[in-house]
Symmetry: C2
Subunit: 416 residues, 2 copies
């Protein structure tokens, strides 16, 4: 019904080609093929170009072939082998995924951009895209996490939306890319709630500079005035309704629920890492599954409180307690995620989590520890540490101020 | 503040002395000692009398003592050793726990009765108590589960309350008795919401017969008219407010949240076992933690829907999504409970769960399978199987009609 009268189709670009980005390309390409009246049949995937040599254990390695032993361009390999042998080996991509190393060219005529970039690359990539995109394009940000500092909280989707002057939603859930690539069942949550837009709005002539990109802070709530500057989708395109956005992501093995709450979806993916540390600390004491479940429950309610305190216009309780981006992602992270495992080992061995990180993570850093520090710095600046006793306990354990054994006492609700 | 002017104190009896009942006695006895202005200092524990010989590995076994080698009365052993060597070995009970094998004597003058009996004993014990209790006594039911059949749903607390013509709340959470007995941290939920009572109501002369005990069914909502027949607590007693009920159960290692929703608390403890089977079936396929978390999330929302559909006056979403009796108990049950483990093994080995039950459970039966059958029988009688696709899928897997691999397809939400 929604496509009646639409003469154009949506072109989709995946901005990013790592493990998660390539997985997204695969499932989005399957979906554009399933909905040919809505979507252009080619899915562009922007590739940060690099030289790659086919590994000897790859099914594409041919010892007799000269090219197999030489470095080749990653985009070329993806387009000829239909596999990202470096970041998603072993998974065949649909032929309608086209790798493109030219960033502006990859988004040419794209009305939908799916951002799947590492956190730290988002500002740079957006700055390169500004002014070169379709002005009425819309984006979905699949990068988890938020920028939290003493100054305030910035959602990734807000950062993208403001830099490009377009609407940007978010996708987050209990998702491990390699499992989804193998079509093992999972779920996700897409937050998508574009404000009313001006169909007469001029094409923006440039992007705001970094300093113009507002931070969310309690004293300065989520700026929505800018929505009036967003350019509406022309009537020739099928509407980008919840129904049609769902068709872009939902697969039989990847169930999508759509909500309005971009803030809640984004916060869930960040704050769950603090909860996973808490669950690991408690589990390392050998207190059993009940203690672990209790800490998870308390953590979910602190996420709810955090969302309501700092995003009162948007964050909803149900996003955290009922959606994949909330409760399910907390469960997954507390069952076997890295934050959980390292925290558990730290308690069980009496080491600090930073020692465990060094020993076990091969130079990588835990997301949970930096989020715990950032959130604590923000809460302290607001004088609100006491309102988030579990988040605060995790920070104090990391700092060596308290011990995991003290968690029950630290989070004990006061009698009324 | 609440006790100003109160001349009497509440006497507490624990009705039951198994693993969970003895644990309850311990923590309640600690709490009456901590609140001497509210509670009588002795906690009676009714013991179903039996002859017990002290096991040789007990710290109380003395090979030189004649009595150590002879069977002795369990109540006598508890009162002399301050330990329930049969059902909670190794845990010292406070001296103010008094085991009493005489049921009517154990509840004499008790204004608070904590029921911790196996499901099947509740009707018989209540029938023996009827007419012999303080008419304005109140009860808390700690037995998990509900009676579900084609005819309707009966909560344990309702069964107790109606047979004794008193108010009965419920306690349920992510609780394993032996862990709580060892003072390992956990949480629970107490549902307590007595209706307005008639301070002039006559003492009931007897108990209703079984046929008079109403079932809850969609066509006959939760009867509350009887509340007018309940006898109010006399003014000489401290009020049994949320605050004072919390003081009876809350410990530093056992955190209590009080809610109004008896139906939700009771349903959580029953329906979670169906979810644990579903999680086990999926986990046995090796689909990973995301698939498992997804099934758990879907299951929690089916609990919410079930509560709202059949207990619309009382069941609240938050009871299932935010409290220990809901989300936390689901988490615990899906991490290591028996239902989960047996279902996982059934899928992984290709056996039916009934074969696994026979092999691994030493004659015991899983709670989840009978609950899944009972709930399905009820839903089918209402024509509502399709509204609970996960509960229905579990039933159909048990029946051999579908395979665990089909769960994603069976629970896939339809596009609007």
């Amino acid at each position: 019904m929604a496509t009646l009268g639409a003469q154009k189709k949506h072109k989709v670009t995946i901005v990013g080609s790592g493990n998660w980005g390539t997985t997204m390309s695969k499932l989005v390409a399957e979906n554009v093929e399933a909905h040919p009246t809505l979507f252009d049949q080619t899915v562009q995937m922007w590739v940060y170009e690099e030289d790659v040599t086919i590994p000897k254990d790859s099914r594409h390695f041919d010892p007799g072939s000269e090219t197999s032993n030489k470095p080749q361009k990653l985009s070329h390999l993806i387009n000829t082998l239909h596999e990202n042998i470096k970041y998603l080996p072993g998974i065949t991509l649909p032929p309608n995924v086209v790798a493109n190393p030219d960033l502006p060219d990859s988004v040419k005529e794209a009305t939908i951009m799916v951002f799947v970039l590492p956190h730290q690359f988002i500002p740079r990539v957006c700055d390169q895209l500004a002014g070169k995109i379709v002005p009425f394009a819309r984006a979905i940000c699949c990068t988890k996490g938020v920028d939290v500092s003493e100054k305030g909280i910035r959602l990734m989707s807000e950062a993208i939306g403001m830099r490009l002057n377009i609407y940007c939603g978010a996708l987050s859930g209990a998702n491990i890319a390699s499992e989804i690539a193998q079509e093992k069942y999972s779920e996700t949550t897409v937050a998508y709630d574009p404000p009313p837009m001006d169909s007469r709005a001029p094409t923006p002539s440039g992007s705001p500079t970094s300093s113009q990109v507002d931070l969310i802070s309690p004293s300065k709530p989520n700026p929505s005035a800018r929505s009036a500057r967003l350019k509406a989708l022309p009537a020739e395109y099928p509407p980008l309704s919840h129904e049609n956005v769902r068709k872009l992501f939902h697969r039989p093995y990847f169930h999508v629920r759509i909500v309005d709450d971009v803030a809640g979806v984004s916060l869930g993916g960040a704050l769950k890492n603090i909860i996973a540390l808490a669950a690991g600390f408690v589990d390392g004491l050998g207190w059993g599954d009940n203690a672990k479940a209790a800490v998870m429950r308390v953590g979910i309610l602190e996420m709810v409180a955090f969302g309501k305190a700092f995003f009162e216009d948007s964050a909803k309780t149900s996003t955290f307690t009922e959606e994949s981006c909330g409760v399910a992602d907390v469960i997954t992270s507390c069952m076997g995620g890295r934050n959980f495992k390292c925290a558990k080992k730290a308690t069980a061995t009496g080491k600090s989590i930073f020692e465990v990180e060094q020993e076990d993570l091969n130079g990588q850093k835990l997301q949970g520890t930096s989020t715990a520090y950032e959130v604590n710095s923000f809460l302290r600046s607001q004088g609100l540490e006491a309102d988030y006793p579990l988040f605060t306990a995790v920070y104090n354990i990391l700092e060596g101020n308290v011990k995991p054994e003290q968690i029950p006492q630290l989070i004990e609700p006061k009698a009324k």
